[in-house]
Amino acid sequence: MSNLNYAIEVNNLTKVYGRPGSGVLAVDHINFAVRQGEVFGFLGPNGAGKTTTQRMLTTLLEPTEGRIVIFGHDLAREAYPVKRQMGLVPEESNVYTELTAWDNLMFTAQLYRVPRAERAERAQQLLEIFGLWEKRDVKVENFSKGMRRRLSIAMAIIHRPPLLFLDEPTPGLDVQSARAIRDLIRQLNAEGTTIFLTTHQIEEANQLCDRVAIINHGRIAAIDTPERLKATFRRVQSVEVALEPPEGFEPSGGWGEALTALPGVTTAVKWGDKWRLYTEDPSALLPQVTDYARANELKVISLSTLGPSLEDVFLELTGQQVGTVRHEIQNDRPRRRGMKGQMGGRR
């Protein structure tokens, strides 16, 4: 029985590439639901099954097993009304480079049977929103990657779909274009569009999504809000410290070993010009760090506590433990100054 509050309901969804029995299992009996009006992030490493899932949701692939219900319609039996209600922005900007921006939009509007009287007005509106109005008569082969991406999104929403699938919308774009697209996603969502965002950009999911599902090896590893997922992983809290040692100072066994030896530290990871010390109790670790610095005449350049980031959660859930590079860099010395802030934004 489907729930009309959900835009998407997925039950036991499975995909085997090739013949069942001898094929490759890409998606393994996954279950999840996306509420109407939310931005739902679908995260996973390469090859986890993200794009396969999205292709099944958009009718491009037939599930081997399981059921997909979109806006109350069973996708296997009622694909036609569902297709009218969804827009798709694939990973590659699939625009027609031989056509102008205007012709691309008109083609899509006609394909989705947008009434003739609305087509031109809607196309103009979208081209203006996306900053492409001045280039409307230019062939898309002359567009930059960011412009093609914007046009691709405009084509996906020209029929005002209540459900929009976005597959990796910002990789490879300059900062300005990526921010513009993220703002647009927020705006579309504010207007009521349900967004299914497939990405491996953790920070993007953190900024945009109401809830995220993390998929790994074809199975859902977790589904929750980003903040709740972070709270679940207390062991990946950390203390970040930048130390300036006196000339010639080198701890015996290297910095990694010395810092890992501090009480409460589970892993020490070099992080630019800083060290990140993972612990279950950051407040108890702080005085240990200052005591260590004082005892060794180290200058504390910066010291802060960090909650687990969504990336930490992602790495934990996908079996790539935080701090796996520790042994490769344990003999590196902390640099004296200068690189602080380059890793900004990961809170």
Partner: protein
């Protein structure tokens, strides 16, 4: 559903037309394609006709059969793999229209291109060589049905689940050249050995050539209605493998 099946049919027809117009702009009305479409049949015609005594009307009949055959299936086999590679084919598959509508659009655009080039060939034959047409309406029907049938034949190769047009080129070219030599286009059916003639009857090009002979010269070996029927039925039958191949690719994930 709002509007019921009539509305749906109207939508599907309109969507097929949108696909035709888009493909015509994107793939067919390109300088290279136009040059190929217009020049290839003439090159073929002159290659096999020089030093042979042939009247203008006989030449026009052969030219029309070659034109419909070569231009209808000239781009069709390569467009879908190319669109798959560019990702634009997913846009069409995800659109609210049936697979059959999409494939009909794809087959029709090749047919329309072939019809356009055939009109040009006909004008050259009539205006430059003074050829006369014995059965104009039969000629129109033959060009339309032949173009669609050959375009649908090309679509079978376009439906091979690949993103590389090169993968399609070899089997497609092999079949087209094979058909060309067994179909009575260069060696009349009456001059063929019985075994060769039996093989010729398996090719739709044989019926297209016979129909063109009848329409232009007023003389054919077979009944023209049989020719029309074979072209019609082969056009319909050639649409079956592409639908099946697309469904299979969607099911197996190729």
């Amino acid at each position: 559903m709002k509007g019921g099946w009539r509305q749906r049919l109207q939508d599907e027809l309109a969507q097929a037309w949108v696909v035709i117009v888009k493909d015509m702009k994107v793939h067919y009305l390109r300088p290279g394609m136009i040059m190929f479409g217009f020049m290839m049949p003439f090159f073929m015609f002159f290659s096999f006709s020089v030093r042979r005594e042939m009247g203008a009307a006989q030449g026009v009949a052969r030219l029309l059969a070659l034109t419909t055959f070569f231009t209808a299936a000239a781009a069709g086999p390569f467009i879908i793999p190319l669109e798959r590679r560019l990702g634009t084919y997913d846009r069409l598959l995800a659109a609210p229209m049936s697979l059959l509508t999409l494939l009909l659009g794809k087959a029709s655009v090749g047919a329309l291109f072939a019809i356009g080039v055939s009109i040009f060939s006909l004008l050259v034959g009539v205006l430059a060589f003074g050829a006369t047409i014995a059965q104009p309406w039969l000629l129109v029907a033959g060009v339309i049905l032949g173009s669609f049938s050959f375009s649908a034949l090309g679509l079978i190769f376009g439906s091979i689940p690949t993103r590389n047009p090169g993968d399609v080129q070899m089997p497609s070219t092999l079949l087209r050249w094979g058909l060309l030599f067994i179909s009575g286009t260069f060696i009349p059916l009456t001059e063929m050995a019985p075994a060769a003639r039996t093989v010729a009857y398996l090719s739709p090009l044989t019926y297209a050539q016979d129909l063109m002979n009848y329409a232009v010269l007023g003389v054919g070996l077979l009944n023209p209605w049989l020719d029309l029927l074979v072209l019609l039925v082969s056009g319909v039958l050639f649409m079956v493998p592409p639908v099946w191949m697309h469904q299979r690719a969607r099911r197996l994930g190729y």
